[in-house]
């Protein structure tokens, strides 16, 4: 089982490396990170926090959009592509279990995503710190951002695997992935905020809304990172709403982990049902 998964993962990594996926993902993360670090944030010192901390908290907002997108792009083709090429039925006739196939592909994608997050944001933070000097307090926060962003991505990799295993064509899987990204990442918060406005400070706003917000791993992630940031860093929009919630740190982590487990289970179920 482990042997089969490693075999699949090695092949997937080779393919991703040859297709420049690893380089592209790292470059994308670094590029957006640097743009945000130097163009977006307020000048250091004005708020009493160092530049690195400021950068990391704006990277958190970037992650909310970029990490799920990259995760879905990495995973949507995994099974649908093999089904379309006809190599999936062949793999199914090999002694490796379907769980082992899923684990192998998922592991490889997770490695690529982790490389992108750690290298991309590591480079960004390194540049910011060397330009700005200042205190290195932000590095602990950076690490918190890196591993929780990887966990966030892991949930969307699992979601992408589930979509991919349920589709027979890459085209279908790709459109599903885009729809999911728009819904979960872009529309969800907007929709909830709309409801809050309509509710006008009623019970929905006070007791239901924060938890609905938190059920989405992107908001759980944002909360988890910002919990660690000095309260003087101003939050806006959903960010502020999430900060209102006074939940222990394990809650957002548990929510992100739940996404990984639930969608991997769904992916496995589809894969077991899949016919050649």
């Amino acid at each position: 089982m482990i042997r089969s998964s490693v075999t699949i993962a090695v092949a997937e990594l080779k393919i991703a490396y040859r297709n420049q996926w690893v380089v592209t993902a790292v470059a994308l993360m670094t590029l957006f990170g640097l743009i945000l670090a130097f163009a977006g944030s307020a000048p250091a010192g004005t708020l009493g926090v160092d530049r690195l901390t400021l950068t990391v908290s704006s990277l958190a907002t970037l992650c909310v959009y970029l990490v799920p997108l990259i995760a879905l792009l990495l995973s949507y083709d995994g099974f649908a592509g093999e089904a379309e090429r006809g190599s999936l039925p062949l793999l199914f006739t090999y002694p490796a279990s379907r769980f082992a196939l899923l684990a192998g592909k998922y592991l490889a994608q997770l490695v690529i995503l982790a490389i992108a997050v750690f290298a991309g944001f590591g480079i960004t933070a390194g540049v910011v710190w060397s330009v700005d000097g200042g205190s290195s307090d932000g590095f602990a926060l950076l690490f918190r951002l890196q591993w929780s962003a990887t966990l966030l991505g892991a949930g969307f990799l699992a979601l992408g695997a589930a979509l991919s295993a349920a589709s027979r064509q890459t085209g279908t899987a790709a459109s599903l992935a885009i729809a999911v990204w728009l819904l979960a990442v872009v529309m969800y918060d907007v929709g909830l905020l709309g409801a809050v406005v309509a509710d006008d400070g009623g019970t929905f706003t006070k007791s239901v809304f924060p938890w609905l917000l938190l059920a989405n791993p992107t908001d759980a992630f944002r909360l988890f990172v910002l919990q660690a940031v000095d309260a003087t860093v101003p939050g806006t929009g959903p960010q502020a709403a999430v900060q209102m919630l006074d939940v222990p740190a394990f809650v957002p982590v548990a929510i992100m982990t739940a996404w990984v487990i639930v969608f991997l289970a769904l992916a496995l179920a589809s894969l077991r049902r899949a016919e050649g």
Binding site: R18, F92, T93
Partner: protein, 302 residues
């Protein structure tokens, strides 16, 4: 001895149509069986059920005594799908190494196999650069991994040049010689003739024939052709004497039932030196196939 594959009254329905309809068939170890039938007859569907890729709607299949798709069955079965495209970014060697690992075979066997299917030169090139035939050879190489007990090949020779087909059938007979049960579907009738033990013909999901070619020929009662070459331009003369058909100035063709063949040959030899040569042409597999694929002849043999 138990058959390697036992197919017992198997039906597969897709909505209203029965892609496979009440098929029973056994495949013995060391036997090579060709599965024939027109497009859409249900060959690939039957193959997928044997491999456990899809479940029968009805009936039962056993592969070496285990259910299709079970770990035990997968351990000893090899498959070549109808249309498979491997990942174009991997090299042939890398792809086959992946398959070898999944089958628990040593990496050392990979190189040897690639040499056997004549892919040695291209093995470190990316599969994206392979021709169709080269990809098919790579597919064949993965069939040979780890001495399978059952090999299921869906149109294995499509895209192969004549010499590669030769090589393929040599490999199949080696596999069968080692006790592997081979089932192959094909549309290339002429090349199958001398290379399979039994022929099974599917028509609209039903098994309309399954036997040795000679038995199918006899049961079908297809005529034998005698082609007689005549000296000195006496073809017309001979044709009227023997009741045959003049083909050209030098040849006459006689058509007779298989059981009259010897008597007709005697008629011809009685002509003495007028006859330059005789060819006896038994009904080809193509004739047999055409006969069984025609609607009215369904189910004339067991």
């Amino acid at each position: 001895m138990n058959p390697a594959v036992r197919i017992d009254h198997v039906t597969k329905r897709y909505g209203a149509i029965a892609a496979v309809d009440g098929v029973s068939l056994n495949l013995a170890a060391g036997e090579t069986l060709a599965l024939l039938g027109p497009n859409g007859a249900g060959k690939s569907t039957l193959i997928k059920m044997i491999l456990g890729l899809t479940d029968p709607s009805d009936g039962n299949i056993e592969v070496l005594g285990s259910p299709p798709g079970s770990h035990a069955a997968r351990q000893s079965a090899a498959y070549l799908p109808e249309n498979v495209i491997f990942h174009k970014s991997l090299t042939g060697h890398e792809q086959l190494t992946m398959f070898a690992r999944l089958k628990g075979q040593p990496k050392a066997s990979v190189q040897h196999l690639l040499e056997r299917v004549a892919l040695a030169e291209a093995m470190h090139a990316r599969i994206g650069t392979y021709s169709k035939g080269m990809r098919q050879k790579l597919g064949l190489a993965q069939v040979l991994l780890g001495q399978p007990k059952i090999a299921i090949l869906d149109e294995p020779t499509s895209g192969l040049d004549p010499l590669s087909r030769e090589m393929f059938y040599r490999m199949i007979s080696e596999l069968a010689g080692a006790g592997c049960a081979v089932l192959l579907s094909s549309h290339a009738l002429t090349e199958l003739e001398a290379r399979t033990d039994r022929i099974a013909i599917l028509r609209r999901g039903k098994l309309v024939a399954c036997d040795r070619l000679s038995a199918l020929r006899a049961a079908a009662g297809l005529p034998v052709r005698l082609r007689v070459e005549i000296r000195n331009g006496q073809a017309d003369d001979v044709a009227s004497k023997l009741g045959g058909q003049r083909v050209n100035g030098q040849a006459v063709e006689l058509v007779c039932e298989a059981r009259d063949k010897v008597a007709r040959l005697a008629d011809v030899t009685r002509l003495g030196r007028t006859v330059a040569d005789i060819d006896v042409v038994p009904p080809s597999l193509e004739d047999v196939y055409r006969y069984y694929s025609a609607a009215q002849n369904e189910g004339k043999t067991s």
